[in-house]
Amino acid sequence: MNLQKIVVIGAGTMGSGIAQWFTQQMCSVELVDNSQEQLAKALQSIHTSWDKLVEKQKLSSLEVSRMKELLSIKSLDQVSRSANLVIEAIIENLAIKKDLFQKLDQYFEAHTILASNTSSFPIELMAEAVTDDRKPRFLGLHFFNPATIMKLVEVIKGKDSSLELCQELYQWFDAKDKKPAMCKDSPGFIVNRVARNFYGEPLRIVEEDDQAKMKEVDSILKEVGGFKMGPFELMDLIGIDVNYSVTCSVWEAYGQEPRFAPHKLQKQMVDEKRLGRKTKRGFYKYD
């Protein structure tokens, strides 16, 4: 598989992380966003990150100069129509994503693979926006934050995605420093589904807003279970609102299946605007 020319749409945290990772694989990457300010900020941040990696001797100056040449920021109408792969990493809004994919389908050449980094929408729904000819070359590629560090890429085969193409992409990522996982187009894919009970069950163990108990649960899961962070400190870091929203989304997508039911404490925290570290108050206090 030849993946030399990559376009990443969306210069937010995920998009810029994905663009940085592909560039580090010595691919030519065009990073696209509606906001020139966001693009400049993302480019600056990636360059700073590379400079730090040179200081830490993780990358050579020569490698970084080459990467800086390979990464460019563009508006959509400036990018190469012959890109091998386009990855969408914009806001999680289905209507906006579908509108974008319709444009991308028309803009790029027939061989271009279109992929979404969505964490919540079915690939099948987004594929409705593209022509039948493109559908086999449309799939999900779900990266994890920070994309340059987290090794997983969920390769999501939509109803009409070519199995052969998904397998080729799996092998391509496997040959790089990623750990791909092939999965079916189903709510939450693998991680956002299976990880739900890492939060849901501890919430049911503590039941109430009891900080001492939460601290004990976090501590046991780290010490006995070997998890790097406990569920309460992790929810505070992610944002209790964000975590609650993912929980509700998966719960609804599975027809309110009890295994995914949100806990009353999550709603209480969101209602009280105790959203975690970003508000200095979540399950814990951050003064």
Partner: protein
Amino acid sequence: MKNVLAEKPSVGFINMTNVLFDNVLINFGFATKEEKKTLLRSHPAKKVFMDLTCFDPAEFYNEYPNLQGSFAALFCDESKKMEIHFREKNEAVLLKLKGLGFTPIETSIISCGFVFPRTVVQIINEAYFALAEGVATKEDINRAMKFGVNYPKGPFEWSEGKELYVKTLLKELLEKTGDKRYVASQLL
């Protein structure tokens, strides 16, 4: 470390003067709730410390005053870490456990399945549901959880050889709470 649960119950106690340890822990065997209760009834004068990984310590404490402490462990790594709850702290028991190669972590939380087993069996159960629905292979689910969210092990690595524990704890949680979130995957 022996890591396979015996299908045939292996029940008994390690005698430590006037303290009895449930030897299920040591043998990685399995005993039903009734077998555990029978053991407690048969030694009313002894101080008993029992493995309650799959059961609700509150129920046992209420029924058996001779139960002085309980512990839970799925021994998912070589560190042999376990959660232990005391009615009253007993240093001799902690020392004995350490002497047997275990790392006891004290907890004040009384919860069916304690903290780690209860949390991890739910992660394992969901992984089995996903597998049954053909979402991904066992290998890819393990890989996704280890490399997407930094879990120390994949769900199927945790459950390997411990399916009986997983099923028993889910059944107990379902009975205790009546919450269908604990219905076990048919693949388990």
